[in-house]
Amino acid sequence: MAASQLEASVRHEKDASVIDLKGEINSFAEATLNTAYEEATQNDAKVVVLNFKDVGYMNSTGIALIVGLLAQARKSHRELRVFGLTDHYLQIFEITRLVDFMSIHQDEKSALV
């Protein structure tokens, strides 16, 4: 399943950590996603931004992983933001009500404001 592996890299910006996601968010992505989140919150960033620009596919297991991250973030009073969603996945974030708990942005610039 090499093709469906998720790659995640973390950048520490001024007031936030950005996780650049690349690939597919499915059951194979769990470890990668959790490791990236840990790295992103190491410097105690209050805002974690997920970059979905290069995410080609996400399934319900992937949604569960995002819900998991969101639950963690809320527990430690961090804010989770998202940008780069396609219309389809934006719709899925709406259907699942994830949009009620995380702000959705057009691009990185607006996500970091």
């Binding site: 319900s60 569960a64 396609t86 899925i92 699942t96």
Partner: protein, 531 residues
């Protein structure tokens, strides 16, 4: 000395039971250079009898025997032979050429040789036996390997998957008693749209049965292509097989041809167990008679006809189940078989039969005969499959392995693309992937040998994707309430459980249908005119 002894062992070991091989140090070579002579002594050579009755070092020049081995030994310049005898059997021979000093062998030399021979013989025997056992074990392993390969080959002679017929469901089970077997079944699509189903049982089991099975199958396939009546098919097959089948072997066979449109089933029987018909009200055997195939030329066969109405089914089986015995030597029998069929009007009958058989025979069962079932079932609801004027865009299966939904989703997307808007296509992809994932996980429990079936059908203004698992009726899907995100975020509920909810929101209509042996999820998309 060690080297020398090793050489000696090497030179005398490794002969078969029947013939003794002879070793000799070369005439002009150092003593250590022991050489394998390569002279074989036939078991009936008079020299063997002589060696068995006269132990100790024997001067060959003194012998007067009409023995080819003796001649060969003398030609090889052997002067002294010391038989190695163990348990009354000649197992080897120490052969000595002339002494390097050109003197005769002394009495001391002979004593030494005799001692050596009497001590070496038992050890040599043990070594030979060990080697024989190793060889036997290797031979067994080779045979087992051959049988494993034979089984794989035989499996390729069975249909790789059951044919997909709208409104019909065919299920099979095949378990030979040994690595290979004489039972087989086959599905042959006929030119007129009817389906020919064969179940057959070659007498005996194991390799002989498997060989006859292979040729019978080819003959049947060939004949079914030429003829269209079950009786005529069996008649022709019998004529072809009679001269080819070994005496005392024969094949019982049912040839069943059904019309998927009308449900009319015609069949003929060559000495096989009668098919069991299960209607909504009763369980009956349907009769047709005829002699087994391959016994006698000139046989004719009855033809019987029944009509399967929606929801009805016909079970074909081999006697491996009816004649199975439990630890008390009681037979499974026809009554028990009928009871199981009668008890399950719906549900996964083949699985129920196997469970009943397993419970009956117990865990230590030494399977006596091949067990085979073919179940022909006409679906109860025709709504899902028989859409007038519909066109099947895709019909395939995927193994239940994590991640396989991805490629299947792309495959469906590629064939329906032209019917949908870009937005619909994205939704379809998510819905199809989720549905297949559910079927693999909750239906088939990720058992990779059980496939998920996927069909895409366009009819009128609607595109429908059918995704079927074979999870039996136990593993019920529940249509979800809307997942409670607040509870999930608060850690009061699992973060998972989005699948069906998501699917419902991606499609125009979703239906969940319980089948006999699993579930089918229908995903419907309304086509938006031209695109």
């Amino acid at each position: 000395m060690t080297t020398q002894r090793n050489n000696l062992w090497q030179s005398v070991l490794g002969r078969g039971k029947k013939e003794a091989q002879v070793e000799i140090p070369p005439v002009e070579a150092p003593v250590a250079a022991i050489q394998h002579l390569g002279v074989d002594i036939a078991a009936n050579d008079p020299l063997v009898a002589y060696f068995l009755t006269n132990r100790g070092a024997i001067e060959l020049s003194r012998l007067n025997l009409d023995s080819p081995a003796l001649t060969a030994l003398r030609d090889a310049k052997v002067q002294i032979g010391v038989p190695l005898v163990s348990q009354g059997e000649l197992i080897g021979l120490l052969s000595l050429g002339p002494r390097r000093s050109e003197q005769d062998y002394s009495a001391d030399d002979r004593r030494l040789l005799n001692n050596l021979a009497s001590q070496a013989a038992p050890s040599l025997r043990v070594a030979q036996l060990a080697r024989q056992q190793q060889a036997a074990a290797a031979e067994r392993e080779r045979l087992e390997q051959e049988l494993r390969v034979a089984r794989i080959i035989q499996q390729t002679l069975l249909p790789k998957q059951t044919p997909k017929l709208p409104g019909w469901k065919l299920s099979t089970y095949w378990q030979p008693a040994r690595a290979v077997g004489g039972d087989f079944y086959d599905f042959i699509e006929m030119a007129d749209g009817r389906m020919c189903v064969i179940i057959a049982d070659v007498t005996d089991k194991g390799v002989p049965a498997a060989l006859v099975m292979a040729s019978a199958r080819s003959v049947l396939r060939g004949v079914v292509e030429q003829l269209d009546s079950p009786a005529k098919i069996l008649e022709r097959v019998n004529e072809t097989l009679v001269p080819d089948i070994p005496p005392k072997m024969f094949i019982t066979c049912l040839c069943v041809i059904f019309d998927p449109q009308t449900g009319v089933v015609r069949f003929s029987n060559a000495g096989h167990n009668l098919p069991i018909l299960r209607t909504s009200t009763e369980t009956v055997e349907v009769k047709a008679t005829g002699m087994p195939l391959g016994l006698m030329p000139g046989m004719t066969y009855d033809e019987a006809e029944v009509t399967l109405k929606p929801g009805e089914r016909m079970l074909l089986y081999s006697d491996g189940i009816s004649e199975a015995h439990n630890p008390d030597r009681e037979m499974f029998g026809f009554d028990r078989l009928h009871e199981v069929v009668a008890a399950h009007h719906s549900g996964a009958l083949v699985e129920h039969l196997i469970t009943a058989l397993e419970e009956f025979v117990g865990s230590d069962w030494d399977q006596e005969d091949d067990v085979t079932f073919v179940l022909i079932k006409r679906s109860a609801s025709e709504t899902s499959d028989n859409v007038p004027g519909g066109r099947v865009l895709a019909n395939f299966t995927v193994k239940s392995e994590p991640g396989n939904e991805r490629a299947a989703m792309e495959r469906v997307a590629s064939v329906v693309e032209s019917y949908l808007t870009a937005d619909q296509l994205e939704k379809l992809k998510t819905a199809v992937a989720e549905t297949i994932m559910n079927a693999m996980e909750h239906g088939n429990l990720y058992r990779s040998d059980i496939p998920v079936e996927i069909m895409a059908l366009v009819a009128g203004e609607q595109l429908t994707i059918y995704v079927s698992d074979q999870g039996g009726t136990q593993s019920a899907y529940k249509l979800p309430e809307e997942p409670d995100l607040d509870a999930k975020l608060a850690g009061l509920d699992t973060p998972r459980g989005w699948g069906l909810f998501l699917i419902q929101n991606m499609v125009d209509e979703m239906n969940l249908i319980d089948n006999d042996d699993g579930h089918t999820v229908e995903l419907k998309f309304n086509l938006q005119g031209e695109k």
